[in-house]
């Protein structure tokens, strides 16, 4: 039994393919505060409710953008990079909207380019990924460059 899907090798991706990833995720305090602390992000607007709300700019602890980026790229990962051997870059990452605990992300992806890779058994794919919240506002978009295995035995 293979460990990964058989429909997301390098040969399966073509420029212009667009995916709506079926699993969403409600960002919880557990995720956001935990990750902010694990990565030593010391900005207390991510973990101090009183501080975060006192200026009136924010309505609660505001999510660290790194969490928003990682969660949306994560939601996109099984369909796009499950058979990747390496993620080599991120570019044009944009955070468009404040994110709070309780917001629900859905992720989308588009194939921007496919090319031969630096080794014969994989190719390079550039995806655009983006995520929306429960109001269909785009909260984040990014381009991710990955090396994906070619289908074994071909």
């Amino acid at each position: 039994m293979p460990l990964t899907s058989s429909d997301n090798y390098f040969e399966d991706f073509a420029v212009g393919q667009t995916f709506e990833h079926v699993r969403g995720k409600t960002l919880t305090e557990m995720d956001q505060v935990l990750i902010s602390h694990l990565v030593m992000n010391s900005a207390q607007a991510h973990f101090n409710e009183v501080h975060a709300t006192k200026s009136g700019t924010w309505t609660g602890r505001i999510a660290f953008g790194g969490v928003t980026i990682s969660m949306i790229l994560g939601l996109a990962s099984q369909d796009t990079i499950e058979n990747a051997v390496a993620v080599t870059g991120l570019d044009k990452v944009r955070l468009m909207k404040s994110v709070y605990h309780g917001d629900t992300f859905m992720a989308f992806s588009e194939v921007l380019s496919v090319a031969d890779g630096p080794r014969p058994d994989c190719g390079e794919v550039v995806f655009k990924h983006w995520g929306v919240n429960q109001n269909d506002d785009i909260v984040m978009s990014a381009e991710r460059r990955v090396l994906i295995k070619r289908r074994p035995g071909q």
Binding site: L3, K25, D31, M40, N41, F64, G65, S70, G89, R94
Partner: protein, 154 residues
Amino acid sequence: MMELIRKPHQAYLEDFEVGRVFEHHWGRTINASDNSIFSAVTLSYNPLYFNADAARAEGHPDIVVNPNFLLCLVIGLSVEDLSEGGGGFLGIDEATFHAPVYAGDTIVARSTVVKVRGSDSRPGSGVVTWRTEGLRRGECVIDFLRTNFARRKA
């Protein structure tokens, strides 16, 4: 009345002169549990990030640390020097993952101010771009440009 000492832990727009270099505090050794928790809660479904046998089959000595964890960690270590003043996080450009990272690796972070401009939409702030590097025993394993709002001194 005893005088209370309040140490500031933040920077302002005026602190960012193009070319200034910040060697960030602390550094951090990545543990296997960091990557496990992060990859699980971000749904980062590629076996390299959670299956040691699959990672070894790809030629790695151990599970590969999720590159998004590395990105978040290197940002996190830079926050006090760069962005704890509370400007918004706008984006990341040109992030390159130069080498795989494993549990047990120690990462330190360093940033250089590359661009500073005023903000038309927020007169009390400016927009700053830094080039941030994550270093493992002197080897650059990740670098990227990060752009944030930065508050002016009141």
